[in-house]
Amino acid sequence: MPNEKTLGKKVSRRDALRIFGASGAGFTLGAGGATLATRYAAAQDVEGAKSNGLDSRVPFFGRHQAGVSTPQQEHLQFAAFDLTAEKASEVRDLLRSCSGAAARMCAGEPAGEENYETFLPPDDTGEAFDLSAARLTITFGFGPSLFERDGEDRFGLAKKRPAALAEIPALPGESLDEARSGGDLCIQACADDPQVAFHAIRNLARIARGVAVVRWSQLGFGRTASTSKSQSTPRNLMGFKDGTNNIKAEDEDLMQRHVWAEKGDGPSWMDGGTYLVARKIRMLIEVWDRVSLDDQEKSIGRHKYTGAPIGKEEEFAPLNLDRKDEDGEPRIPEMSHVRLSRQSEDERILRRGYSFTDGMDVERGQLDAGLFFICFQRNPRKQFVPLQRRLGQNDALNEYIQHTGSALFACPPGAGKSGYVGEALFEGD
């Protein structure tokens, strides 16, 4: 019964410091790296410790949306929505309400104010009461279909569509499920507590009811990248460190060059924004687990346990692609994941993916698991697309993975205190 008495009741706090979740390793588009970090050392990550204390709140408002350069949280709930609304004003109102609720939740407050009216369902669904904000970030993005769908300018926004938001072309080696791809809007909720992340998506989907419906949703249970120098490199489900060479938030010049859209890049409503590419990558883990250690390392181009480039000992040792072994063969094999990922400095991206499992694949009788890859960049056509085209053609890992979902979103800049995310798109000229 939703009365004050029961809501005030102490619920045991579910999420202690996630010792194991905080360590990790990585893959896709760039790889590994070694520190001597043990699981326990990883647990001492600065932000991991903070998430349990009073500093567990990440500001929602700001020049950029949070959830991009924020040191990556341990858990993800991601949702793509289709708009059922017909008027731009409905979408605008939705973004306004969602921004308000998001700001509240990121501050550790309920999604709405009215939670004690006897005759009404509470505004907030309640499962995050008594939990900390857990460094929750909520990031909104707009898909290509918001601007144009089947040639139709649905909301009068077609002329504001950035060139960088061109649909991702068909790429080699993918087998995409339409129902798990695309979407008019996306909301990425990241937190150090999975219940806090789920709560955010649930409440925003509720607010959206009647204006937008969930198209697909993905839960990610462990980060597969580090986006800050304060974090250790996590491992992905292949058992390798992932994201050693990722762009880190502290590298402001790299963020500026590769991640944030700048004035003059495209329409001004995206200045300070970024583009999100999400790829659902199924790993055929049963197959991978039968591969010898040597072949695993050659496929990636790094040592499994240290994350160091092959032939080196330190995770962060420079990845020198010119090194040869005694037979004159390249130490980092031609088809290895890290070599193919490092062909052009211009293609660098900020990776921010998560491991997932969707239970069991009943057809194969195998575990359905993999990487829910997320990356941010200034222009997907110049970064993700050429990078993935090369990987899709040649990557030694292709034997063990399959891209099954794909989506692209333009994440506008952050909102000012009295504004909302996307304001410049809906209110500007």
């Binding site: 019964m1 009365n3 004050e4 008495k5 059922t84 009216e117 006897t118 005759f119 009404l120 369902p121 509720r206 009811r209 009647g210 204006v211 419906v213």
Partner: protein
């Protein structure tokens, strides 16, 4: 459906008849529930009710009062229609006329589905009339769905006369109870949302009419019943929140529009013809309506 609970109501309206029969009160503070089996008439005090921890002021406007009375009349009319149509249906079953019985089955259930949350709070009538296979012990199973199974699965009325007679008796018993019924405004509030929850939680999957596939009759009737409760509350809601009122109205329209393509003759296409993605769209339209509708409790704020 037997699992239904009007839990909000149960905790706060210990005096209303609606509560009395709804079984399994969620708290032990619901002291009177044990005494009022079979929906014995008790007068609600109207202005203020209490339970152990909370004092709740309930709005007591003339609009609410009038709306509730009009809704009581609607419930009575629908019950009369239920009796009438069930009579024809059970006559056909008893006469061994399979085709006629099949034709009359879904329409007979329509008035039941329109007032289901109210009817279902009256003691045992819900399981007796509307239990599906497995809801109750096998030897106690009777009602519409028992006959449905025989008609569609075995294509016969054989052995069904006893269930037809029992069903008629139960429906008439229900009518007797309904005549005595006095509702509180909160019954309209919870009932209207609950009818849609019925659809979202169960009917959308086709499990209700698993043999006859006449689910669209039920779904349309649930929506109509919900709309009736909303209409009666509307004058009060117009004062509390006119935007909400017009929003709900639009969403009702959009649900009806979603259902429209499935009409066939006087009735509806078999639910098996509604594809998975179409069911999902219908479900999402229901959710889009139920969400603002769940806010109409505002009219009860004192």
């Amino acid at each position: 459906m037997i699992q239904r609970r009007i839990s909000l109501t149960a905790a706060f309206f210990v005096s209303a008849v609606l509560i009395a029969g709804c079984g399994q009160p969620p708290t032990s503070s619901d002291e009177t529930s044990g005494e009022d089996k079979k929906g014995k008439k008790t007068e609600a005090t109207g202005g203020e009710t209490t339970n152990e921890s909370t004092t709740v002021n309930i709005a007591d406007s003339p609009e609410l009062k009038e709306g509730t009375e009009r809704y009581e009349k609607y419930v009575a009319q629908q019950t009369e229609l239920l009796v009438e149509r069930t009579q024809k249906f059970t006559d056909a079953v008893e006469a061994g006329n399979v085709e006629e019985a099949k034709r009359l089955y879904a329409p007979a259930r329509v008035p039941w589905e329109r007032i289901e949350p109210i009817a279902a709070t009256l003691e045992d009538y819900d399981p007796d009339i509307d239990a599906r296979e497995g809801d109750v012990p096998k030897d106690e199973w009777s009602g519409f769905h028992r006959i449905e199974k025989s008609l569609w699965e075995r294509d016969t009325t054989e052995g069904q006369a006893q269930y037809a007679r029992q069903l008629m008796k139960d429906v008439e018993g229900l009518q007797g109870e309904i005549e005595e019924l006095e509702l509180e405004p909160v019954a309209l509030v919870t009932g209207s949302v609950e009818l849609l929850n019925e659809v979202s939680a169960g009917k959308i999957t086709g499990e209700e009419e698993r043999y006859s596939h006449t689910d669209l009759y039920d779904i349309q009737a649930n929506v109509e019943g919900s709309e009736k409760a909303f209409e009666k509350l509307r004058p009060a809601l117009e004062e509390a929140d006119p935007t909400l009122a017009s929003n709900i109205e639009q969403r009702f329209d959009s649900v009806y529009a979603e259902l429209e393509p499935y009409r066939k003759g006087d009735g509806w296409v078999p639910y098996t013809e509604v594809k998975e993605e179409e069911r999902r769209e219908l479900s999402q339209k229901m959710d889009a309506l139920a969400e603002p509708l769940s806010q109409i409790g505002q009219v009860l704020k004192g």
